[in-house]
């Protein structure tokens, strides 16, 4: 496994308040921390601010107050491309391939930040074919013609092509056939074993807790509970009941 020299680092958001419009507050003083080589899971009912947290951390939404940090460096206000250059990559919810572009073009666009050095770009693309050999024979197929599982692998490939040290993963199993869901979580486990920092947002509570090292729960845009996985395994049932009653 070839890994870039990007040092894995702690990703942190500290008392972040954010919203999409001037007078709505989706996140209210939310703090999260994700550590290298661990899967940190964020759970919560719909509308509790899980995806919004990822948007703030990946630079698509600016926090109104509070801080976002990678290691000891503040990353507030940096656009998505700058965060990508620092090793933070987002795997968004739902289909995110460019359907009209070929598999190869999708991967090459994933490596857009390397466009100034064609050799490194090509090497990065080849490394992804080595990582996901299934994609190699499909390289000139339009991504829109791939099966759900193949497209998900392509999305992983596009997200990983710059060898990010921090991965923000939003609902990785939504819309996938049950047989593919296991593969997705296996892949996330592999990413963790490679020492990357993983922040996972998931509605699939059972699967997420199974692979979590540390769990946060959000409710109404605020921090609710947090702790090591062992604390949550028993509480799971009551937790879900609690959400349904919220």
């Amino acid at each position: 496994m070839t890994r870039a020299a990007t040092a894995t680092q702690v990703l942190r958001m500290d008392r972040v308040t954010a919203g999409y419009y001037a007078n709505d507050t989706v996140l209210d003083q939310v703090s999260l921390e994700a550590r290298p080589g661990r899967v940190t899971v964020v759970l919560g009912p719909n509308g509790s601010g899980k995806s919004t947290s990822l948007r703030v951390l990946s630079g698509f939404l600016n926090a109104r107050s509070g801080r976002t940090m990678l290691g000891s460096e503040g990353i507030d206000g940096l656009p998505p491309g700058e965060r990508l250059a620092r090793g933070i990559a987002l795997l968004p919810q739902g289909r995110s391939v460019f359907p009209g572009l070929t598999v190869e073009e999708n991967l090459r666009l994933g490596a857009w930040m390397l466009r100034k050095s064609p050799q490194r770009l090509q090497a990065a693309v080849d490394a992804m074919y080595d990582r996901y050999p299934v994609l190699r024979p499909l390289r000139s197929r339009p991504a829109g013609s791939l099966s759900g599982g193949q497209a998900r692998l392509l999305e992983f490939g596009r997200t990983l092509i710059l060898e990010p040290s921090v991965l923000l993963i939003d609902e990785p199993s939504v819309g996938l056939a049950p047989v593919l869901v296991d593969q997705v979580y296996d892949e996330i486990a592999r990413l963790r074993d490679e020492g990357r920092t993983i922040l996972l947002v998931d509605q699939n509570v059972q699967a997420a807790i199974d692979m979590a090292d540390y769990v946060y729960t959000l409710a109404y845009g605020r921090n609710h509970l947090q702790g090591e996985r062992s604390q949550f395994a028993d509480e799971l049932d009551s937790l879900i009941k609690q959400w349904l009653n919220l």
Partner: protein
């Protein structure tokens, strides 16, 4: 119509078709990539024709060479138009955008009339004014030059879009803006450049208009309709389909105008448009794409 006329009609139609494809290029790029219905397309096109006319007729610059400064000038005009207007409309409703560009069209047209009056003009073609004769065929050299230039430009655009990373980024931008910015593409800057390139291509179409036929500052609306016809029949996202659609329209016009009274030309063309829309909403390009 006698059969002996046919080769002449086919050649006329094909040359005209290339020219129509040239008129549609800028519209197709801005609509296809940025999803902006640029109603001011033809006004920009004719403004470029007038500037082109000034260069060639008043300053005596070579008619082929003059195309370069016009296209460059309008690239910057496009940048300014995007910064001043289009960019501010990014989050607005489609109808607002349509109305704004209609306003730009009226403004440009009015300014053009103030400066250049409503006279019909001809670009002084010089050496391009000759008519080539082969056997029984008469072919205007200026139209051949126009067609060659258009095919050249179409080929370059096609290669740029399909063979380069920037081209992939532009197509990616048109498919999913969010993901495009996720991979680090500066989408705002790329958008501005695509808009400027579309404006420069409209200006290129304007130079072609000057080369190929007489024009007036107010006669551009017809070319707007024609450009939409080409874009809708050809579909967006493939420049080669734009050329095919242009050829189909040019050939139809050229042949129908001989077989039937002139007024039927429009009827037939719009019937083709209706059929194209019925077959597939994205145009004929969508059909061939599905067949692949």
């Amino acid at each position: 119509m006698s059969l002996s006329q046919l080769p002449q009609l086919l050649i006329n139609g094909m040359l005209l078709g290339c020219i129509y494809a040239g008129f549609a290029l800028g519209l197709s790029v801005i609509l296809g990539v940025l999803k902006v219905v640029n109603l001011a397309h033809s006004a920009v096109l004719v403004l470029a024709t007038l500037c082109y006319w000034e260069l060639v007729n008043a300053l005596g610059v070579d008619p082929l060479l003059s195309i370069v400064p016009i296209v460059v000038l309008f690239y910057f005009f496009g940048l300014a138009l995007h910064r001043g207007v289009a960019q501010r409309l990014a989050r607005e409703h489609d109808s607002t955008v349509l109305l704004a560009f209609f306003g730009i069209m009226v403004t440009i047209e009015s300014i053009a009339v103030l400066i250049w009056t409503t006279d019909t003009r001809n670009v002084r073609l010089g050496y391009l004014g000759t008519v080539l004769r082969f056997w029984d065929l008469n072919i205007a050299l200026s139209r051949v030059a126009a067609a060659v230039l258009i095919i050249l430009v179409l080929t370059v655009i096609h290669l740029l879009l399909t063979r380069t990373l920037t081209g992939a980024a532009i197509r990616g931008l048109s498919e999913n803006r969010d993901v495009a910015s996720m991979v680090g593409i500066g989408v705002d800057r790329l958008t501005r450049r695509v808009f400027a390139a579309g404006t420069a291509l409209a200006a290129f179409g304007g130079c072609i208009l000057g080369l190929a036929m007489p024009f007036t500052p107010q006669g551009h609306v017809r070319w707007l309709a024609w450009a939409f016809l080409v874009v809708i029949i050809g579909g967006m996202g493939s420049v080669l389909n734009t050329l095919l659609a242009g050829l189909a329209i040019g050939l139809t016009e050229s042949i129908v105008s001989v077989v039937l009274p002139t007024q039927y030309t429009y009827l037939i063309l719009y019937a083709i448009l209706a059929i194209a829309l019925l077959v597939r909403r994205t145009g004929l390009g969508g059909v061939s794409e599905r067949a692949v």
